[in-house]
Amino acid sequence: MTVTVLISMAVTGCMKRQSLSGMEGGMEETILVCEDSIEGVLTAVYCAYEWKLNHNETRVQIGEADLCMFAVYREVKTDSWRAGRVAATIRKRFGEEAWEDICHALAAEDPEKGQAVYQTIVAGISGKVRGRLMGALANDDVRRVFELSRHVYNEAHRMKQFLRFREVEGGILFARIEPDADVAALIMPHFADRFPLENFVIADTRRAVAGIHAAGKDWFLIRMDIETAEQMESMEEHYTEQEREMAELFRHFCHTISIRERNNLRLQQQFLPLKYRGFMTEFAKKDDKMRL
């Protein structure tokens, strides 16, 4: 009987339904589908509490994924007021550090991140956790959020390390990155504080997002469409003469500074994996496009 009810629901396309809390708790699962952003996931968490759902049987899913047979899908429309309420609760009850960790975890590329964050907030609010929320690593979901936030934090730190600027015509500093996680918004404040009087652009070619900073002004992010992406490609080709000189000096410096008797290329690769070397001037080979 349950099966026919569900199929008819799917056929009519109606997503609102009465709660099934009376029946067979084990089989029924409510899946909240939200969009892939911090506001989306936090709105889904708010809705889970607003609609008084059973937290053990609710899952938060990012975007469209494999459909389950015996599950109820509910669409969650992103609402910044609701997301703001959840954010305020997290900051007040669990502290700024936990809020930062959750934001970092949501910048990762993991399909299960929404569910992990949701269950972490549930565990925190229910009072089962003593001390710091992110310290309760015996809980699987808290540990997943911790691992994701650590992954994103490390990726952002590596971007700060290995990003290289190139001076193009007009005195603009241009950098390209291809990170595993969405870290453009995490590294822009660092560089904006470091170079307040420079014009610079950091382009994330994997996600078509770019961070722009004009001298003396605040930074902002833009989403790149095809034309902007092509404009940036052409901008990168027009570097200044001084740029070639400096790149050559630095390449020579890196080469001179290593001690031959202590050569250890495996150790170097452990610290600097090959995938980050694509846009670094000192590792560009003779006929590489990066070699100026």
Partner: protein, 444 residues
Amino acid sequence: MSLQIATEMSLMEKLEILSDAAKYDVACTSSGSERKGDGKGIGNTIKAGICHSFAGDGRCISLLKILFTNECAYDCKYCLNRCSNDVPRATFTPDEVCRLTIEFYRRNYIEGLFLSSGILYNPTYTMGLIYQTVYKLRHEYHFQGYVHIKAIPGADPEVIRLAGFEVDRMSINLELPTAEGLSRLAPNKHRKTILAPMRQIQNGITVNKDELALYRYAPQFVPAGQSTQMIIGATPENDYQILSVAESLYQKFALKRVFYSAFVHVNEDKALPALPGGPPLLREHRLYQADWLMRFYGFEANELLSEERPDFNILLDPKADWALRHLEEFPVEINRASYERLLRVPGIGVKSAQRIVQARRSSMLDFGHLKKIGVVLKRALYFITCNGRMMYPVRLDEDYITRQMLDCKERLPFDADGVTYRQLSLFDDRNFVMDQNQMIQKVV
């Protein structure tokens, strides 16, 4: 006969000579100082430091490490730039140094500047040149990134004091662990002239902390502390002596770091050892391990080594070595032991110990949790219990545990010296059965 006229060297040539000369100074961190930009200049510093690149020998490149000049009046036997060597000499101008620093910094190649120097005319004159350069960098070029300079032993204390207000870290190389070694290999340098500026900087930092407590925006004196460096393997001191020197430096001079540099053979000299196996890299590695144990794990030098055992174990790191000699301290109960006792377990580091202490507040931990938290169970399982039970039944016997730990192929770095064989035993073969009939029955 054709004349060779010395022409003005290009920036590229100068950089090559002077960075090649500076590379044996292993201090390379850009950490210890946190400073935001003020909006009117260029640069900031991060407390954890940022390593922008890695050289072919695995060391990090985070600063523009150069000598101001490699002309030197001294004749230290281990140094490539000693006055009796015939190498090309070069000198930067302060403007060239500043320009290089700023241009590299803009492109995110470096975190800042590391400036050392050979002795030009006399120590005070050289220190004056270094001071002039960093002053220009800070006040004309408005550079607010990381600056690390070397104080020249024997320079006038007033110049050192003035320079301390412009830099993040100032260091002086101890060069050799004992005064006898120093007088043998570096006859122009004396222990007193090296320790006096260290004391001056230490006092300056203490006084400055009081000033900062009174007025938050007072000028800072050497905010990232001081460090030093010792050459390992050039003189016959044993590991216990070196470690004791390092310990007393940390305690008496409040140093941030002591660096150990394996002796690399660059000069032919009868006072220097031959070192047929290359630089003593494993020894340097063990010293760094012991250094970390002293700073973060609460060990003392006489716990790790002693007069009877003055050298490190080749096969095991110092922490595991200590644990095997003190089996009466183990097993440690994870859910109840103090933080200090958890730190002493091989396989549990500072981060894992902190996580264990936090996680056990909310629930009891078992071995599955520990593995996911990041404890290296392969090593720790011989020394811990969870809720009273050990992971596998283990005899707390020194030989047995040593063999087990070495068995799981403890990876030694640098193809460590020698041991490629192991005493064989019939019991190594897992398929060895007591009763041959059992074997036949299984097959049939």
